[in-house]
Point group: C2
Chain length 282, copies 2
């Protein structure tokens, strides 16, 4: 099965995609838009794109494209702790390093470690952590190291000399699987975190209390929201849509009636699916 | 006055910062965290960081650091349309181009233009649009072009051969000015869009309807929300804070009473300021 993902090869999204689809034929894409287009045109069956906290891709684009392409649904969500490792060419040794390459944000996220343990060694910005790892693998003589992920180390045959060098422990990235189907992804090999529903809600007009009215639909039913994010519509100032996650498995009466009530107050709802959330390894 | 901003030199954030602080001493920072640290330690008086849609920096970090550093306030917000231009060394000409360099997301955002007008010319990922522009300025003989912004063209003396090559017209980035003071930024030379209040609200516990209760405080007062975004706390699953924007100028009775009512329902509020929003040039 063809699975598009936000590339390049060995990006964090590929690290996630490889765990979600170990037998998939992975197709790297240059942008989040390209991932959506690949699914929309049928070039790929599904795509994996970041939803939160990515250093690769502007994740607000994911919400915007979900809004723009109502035919696309969410099949699953996956959360991955961010882990940066320092790696070198396998034939080199730690003492050799005289420059460290990576994506500027990966270097920034590992700043304190690098400053403590590799003080004075210059750092060089690269377009991605993966490209930095590839460059290290191709340039044994340059005595360089890369900050990148486990997948990049495996793919390019690099030696990891320091693990988990990120300054903050609990950073994570969230990904979603998107497709044109309304199927529900499952994988017994991954840690299951729970079920949730995702929906995009547009208010009939921008008036004070509009969002409050929408949330009433969930509040009096004691349905718990775990994420809410507003995005400006491109049609003008003061027009918004909201991405909302409601916790819990699908219950026909509860969810069905909530959706009907949203309709009755003239909110426009794009229901993206009821899906499972999984924990991935970093 | 020293103004930190998310670098590198000639980043979109610098383009914004230069308009907001034309007489400021601009200090580029490697990460959003470094911008916050510079303000917290007093190394810089203020900082400019992206709040929405940036291709440089994970903007959810901005919300997280606002939450982690309650001493930091918002002085203003600024919105800038994103404009990418194609530029070359001033001594070269259009016919010479045999490679185009830029940040992967800037190349992706200009994909259709480049594919139509420069079909077959290879593109090369660079760590930032600014770094690509700098590289072009330093390598006249390489016959390369860069996709970057107006500021980079000026800074590195490049010739713009195609303007506004981005595929979508209405993309924009939002920035905020942060500082330790509670002062309100103003600038009569910029287009004024309106006033708003920003606040971070933490619910006393994660229970269904908690957010609905908080929004009631604003809804019955007919205070209009223009942005709401939930962020997971790092303390465990199911704990959230919300970033909320309330439209309009400060009104002592209205805003004061709303804040008191939030207190009375045990919501924890970090009031970030009542501030002006401006439109910047791209």
């Amino acid at each position: 099965m063809k699975i598009a993902f936000l590339g390049p090869h060995a990006s964090f999204t590929q690290l996630a995609t490889a765990q979600l689809f170990p037998d998939g034929e992975l197709m790297p894409q240059a942008s989040i838009l390209d991932c959506f287009t690949a699914v929309e045109t049928g070039e790929a069956a599904k795509a994996v794109v970041p939803l939160e906290n990515s250093i690769e891709g502007t994740v607000s684009m994911t919400l915007d494209y979900l809004y723009k392409t109502p035919s696309i649904n969410i099949e699953a969500e996956a959360v991955m702790p961010i882990a940066h490792h320092l790696m070198i060419h396998p034939e080199n040794s730690v003492e050799d390093i005289d420059r460290i390459y990576s994506h500027p944000q990966a270097l920034a996220q590992s700043f304190h470690f690098l400053d403590t343990h590799y003080r004075g060694i210059p750092r060089q910005d690269f377009s991605s952590t993966a490209a930095a790892a590839k460059y290290v693998s191709e340039n044994k003589d340059l005595r360089i190291a890369a900050v990148a992920n486990q997948y990049a180390a495996n793919l390019y045959g690099l030696k990891i000399i320091n693990r988990n060098i990120q300054d903050f422990e609990q950073n994570h990235t969230r990904f979603i699987i998107i497709s044109r189907q309304q199927s529900k992804y499952d994988n017994s090999k991954l840690e299951f975190l729970g079920e949730k529903s995702g929906m995009l809600i547009t208010l009939p007009e921008d008036h004070p209390g509009g969002l409050h009215q929408v949330l009433s639909v969930f509040a009096w039913r004691k349905m718990n929201l775990s994420k809410i994010e507003s995005r400006t519509l491109k049609t003008g100032l003061g027009n918004y849509f909201f991405f909302i996650n409601v916790e819990g498995p699908w219950e026909e009466v509860l969810h069905g009636n909530a959706l009907k009530e949203l309709e009755s107050i003239h909110a426009d709802v794009d229901f993206l699916g009821n899906y499972r959330e999984f924990l991935l390894e970093s």
